[in-house]
Amino acid sequence: MIHQYILNGYHIILDVNSGSIHVTDPLAYEAIRLIDAGKTPEEAGRELLAGFADRGVTEQEVQESLADVEELRRSGKLFSEETFADKAFDLKKRNTVIKALCLLVAHTCNLNCSYCFAAQGNFHGQHGLMSFETGKRALDFLVEHSGLRRNLEVDFFGGEPLMNFQVCKDLVAYARSIEKEKKKNFRFTLTTNGVGITDEVIEWANRECHNVVLSLDGRKEVNDRFRKDYAGNGSYDRIVPKFQEFVRRRGGQGYYMRGTFTHFNTDFTEDIFHMADDLGFAELSMEPVVADPDSPSALTREDLPVIFEQYEILARDMLRREREGKPITFYHYMLDLEHGPCIYKRISGCGSGTEYLAVTASGDLYPCHQFVNDPEYRMGDIWEGVTRTDLRDSFKLCNVYSRPECADCWAKLYCAGGCAANAYHATGDIHGTYETGCEIFKKRIECALMIKVAQAMEGRQEKES
């Protein structure tokens, strides 16, 4: 299977199964399209000669382009075969090793954002804070179930985790006290709305947290539309200076400014550029809202063309910034083509319900933070462990090969089957597909690949000149 598209003037071919990426001239691009459509080289040659006659293309050039295509096919970099499906189904038999926990240390929040999937932090349940004893048991549970995995990830999440800062600090101290003996390396992430950031928080997080995720939606009027306190006041003016200080003292690394865009700001590149140009942030993430389709903030099919254009604008602008020596990072455009994930990672799905679990303040286990307090998805608790092994088995097979819609999707080895929670909310089934999310994802990957292509081609031009 291949995927071919033209973006920013580049003719791009992705060979799905090998992961190879090719940049072609228009002639080879059409040659590949014809061969992929089932034409013989002779038929393709005749069509190419006729189709490119007005551009002065010669018989020799046509034959050269067809020879290039054949060479790539023979080397397994074009029209390569699918050989991974059996491995995906073997995943059900794999040992269940847990390597990441999302700790909901606070089922409460000091903001009252109306679009919050966690229902202002209480996850449609009781408000509450995780005790140190519960958190400590969660860390022990993680160590006990992590097998030989060395790197263990723990995210302080909520609600707003800084409303339970002392427990966050105590849990990190506990983890540090056991990691050497247990031969583990804990990596902590803090996800915060910024209201509770203090000098002490900054000093602690910059020492202990591998990553911090700082929630800001962009322009003041956009941020303050949803991100308000309980008195109805927008949070922008309070949180932006704190975030700037936080990132400055962090050395500008190991963080994401994480925004949400909704139906009300489909021009979200303006928010990204505001955070970059006006506020000085360089590590950026902007996510489509997760909302009930009936919500006014939910993205619609009609929004998609606008959103696609925005992603293209962003990609082109990131290339410009890089050329000018002031690059920014966009989470979804970060691709490492040479040292990215292996095929096992690409076919095994996001890990929710298997190697990644969410722990509530009271110690209950859920497949991920988005299923919390849905009784059908309570998997057990940190004392008894996972008791709903049927759910775990179901999540083990939550990957591209369990979703019929993914079979013919060119992006399947980039997304691994997508988000189980989005699928569940959109279709009622974790093995379903959230089509709007798929369309957005594919556009992002096209843009991300284009950036890689542009960087490679500009690099070649520099070498040649």
């Binding site: 199964n17 290039d68 989470y331 490492d336 997304c415």
Partner: protein, 49 residues
């Protein structure tokens, strides 16, 4: 080749042989929390092909 440039990419078939150590970050954990993808996850095994 005159008409096609191929970027350097990780060979998926080789990664089926030497991949799967599982030390990488879970997909959702780092920044998005809403839209899973694996493409931007770096491999922790720097020696793997």
């Amino acid at each position: 080749m005159k008409h096609i440039v191929t970027l350097d990419t990780r060979d998926m078939a080789k990664s089926a042989v030497n991949g799967g150590c599982g030390e990488c970050q879970t997909s959702c954990q780092s920044a998005c929390k809403t839209s899973c993808g694996v493409a931007n996850q770096p491999c922790e095994n720097k020696d793997a092909e």
